[in-house]
């Protein structure tokens, strides 16, 4: 039975209620773009569960879609027989997603910065994904760990949405 919600009794409730376990999901998907929809759905559901409004959850799902797409296109270079691991965690003050692959080491610094003024004339179509991720998230970091690439996306719960 769900505990009764009451603002006045919240302090007492905290002292008697067992500490809540923060949701955490680990998903492994094949390195195929057909699974991007599932990645988006899971991320959005977890973000909403973590307390983000739907509009923010949509953006977080997009950032994770972009990170996963980067893995498929760059780390795995289109191979569809590999695996991408997603670790999605509500860590209380922050929402964290790690996108992990065992593909080629990718230097994120090699990703060209987006210059919208020159974008049309140069007919560039790449680099938007990382730019979008950085605009949506509070932190986007890349590291190499145990011969795997780890892209860590963090969104704090007290920051306003991207504009």
């Amino acid at each position: 039975m769900a505990p009764a919600a009451s603002g006045r009794s919240s302090t007492r409730a905290r002292t008697t209620r067992p500490r809540a376990v923060k949701p955490s999901v680990v998903v492994c998907i094949p390195s195929q773009t057909s699974f991007l929809g599932l990645v988006r759905e899971i991320t959005k559901r977890m973000a909403e569960s973590a307390g983000f409004p739907e509009a923010t959850a949509d953006r977080l799902a997009l950032a994770v879609d972009e990170a996963t797409t980067n893995v498929l296109e760059h780390a795995y270079r289109g191979s569809d027989d590999r695996e991408v691991e997603l670790r999605i965690e509500d860590r209380g003050p922050e929402f964290r997603v790690e996108v992990i692959d065992s593909g080629a080491s990718v230097d994120p610094r090699a990703v060209p910065r987006v210059d919208l003024d020159r974008y049309v004339s140069e007919r560039r179509t790449g680099g938007l994904g990382v730019h979008l991720m950085e605009k949506i998230m509070d932190s986007v970091t890349f590291r190499r760990s145990a011969r795997r690439n780890v892209c860590c996306l963090v969104k704090r719960k007290d920051t306003p949405p991207a504009r």
Binding site: D58, T69, L72, L116, R123
Partner: protein, 120 residues
């Protein structure tokens, strides 16, 4: 159910595209293919009606970017209408709202192609 379908129709010399679903790295080829079909017909006045578009990832924005030079080089333009809040926000985050003309409705987008001074 298809994750993306794109219907087209012509109105007043403007080709309208109706993407329905979402555009990401998986579905972008469908979207690109429809744009290329329109360009192959020599039609360079295009409106993408986004009323049925749930969201668009960078792959979809790249598809538009990849075609815009040819479109504008032929004296045309690609304009957008009926963006939902999610799609509009993505455009604004990237500053694409400064690169493309966006209209609240399909009618306004079509009308925008009329010569200046032409009556309704």
């Amino acid at each position: 159910m298809a994750e993306l379908t794109v219907e087209t129709r012509d109105v007043e010399g403007v080709t309208l595209l109706y993407p329905k679903g979402f555009i990401n790295a998986h579905t972008v080829r469908v979207f690109e293919g429809e744009i290329q079909k329109v360009l192959a017909q020599g039609q360079f006045r295009i409106v993408v009606n986004c009323a049925g578009l749930a969201y668009i990832a960078s792959a979809g924005l790249g598809a538009i970017m990849g075609a815009i030079e040819e479109i504008r080089g032929n004296g045309g333009d690609l304009r957008l209408a009926n963006l939902n809040d999610t799609v509009r926000n993505i455009f604004e985050i990237l500053g694409f709202n400064h690169l493309y003309r966006i209209y609240p409705s399909e009618v306004e987008a079509i009308t925008s192609f009329r010569p200046v001074g032409a009556g309704s």
